[in-house]
Symmetry: C2
Subunit: 132 residues, 2 copies
């Protein structure tokens, strides 16, 4: 049974809603970085929009470990953490996935993003979950 199959609907819902997750990565100097991120769960992986020019991308080239923490908006002492790694980086040179996430989160971009040429989709595996 996979880590995803073990999730109850109550916690799986946190992966499916357009919430702000906090993504942890490890910098090349062995310090930790955490940033809020838009995301989309495709039933197997978690997908993020990012660019190849930013620190998180460099971090993931050095160490593919990723952890996403999501708080339940209805009861903030409940949360889900999913841990895995970067398994694929998909070019998104029109920024289409960024545009899609902007709409999903109610923040439409109103056109192609200026950094579209550098845009990629980060695909994260889910190997472990912890919750409270």
């Amino acid at each position: 049974m996979s880590a995803i199959d073990k999730l109850s609907p109550e916690y799986r819902r946190l992966l499916e809603l357009p919430l702000y997750g906090h993504l942890g990565t490890i910098r090349p100097d062995e310090t930790v970085q955490v940033n809020p991120m838009w995301y989309e769960f495709d039933g197997t992986h978690v997908r993020f929009t990012h660019t190849t020019t930013r620190q998180k991308f460099r971090n993931l080239q050095h160490n593919p470990s990723m952890s996403l923490s999501i708080v339940d908006p209805d009861e903030p002492t409940h949360y889900l953490e999913v841990r895995g790694m970067l398994v694929e980086t998909i070019p998104d040179p029109e920024g289409a996935f960024y545009v899609h996430l902007g709409e999903r989160y109610g923040k439409p971009l109103g056109g192609t993003p200026a950094d579209a040429a550098d845009r990629v989709i980060l695909v994260m595996s889910i190997e472990r979950t912890t919750k409270q």
Copy 2:
């Protein structure tokens, strides 16, 4: 000028309010962990309640790096990340700081926590900030 002194009131406010921060640490196997945490900023350091028996404590014995990400509740595309390290661990054998944080966050514990004997205060330095 310290990283804290450089913060505008708009972002310093995120450290001062009783929000849910997401704390990143690095596990001994070089994977990343992120969890929501109550916190209190004392003007210099960020303080958390924790126990000596839990994974985050073991992580910090191995690598003291810490990063706390806080989203602006009024505009979730704004956030503050503070990065630093564990600089002190203060025993809290009555769980008094845990009780204090419970009150600060509107979740009073109603007495001494069951794990009081293992309770500690984690004191995090602030060395860098990033914001959006």
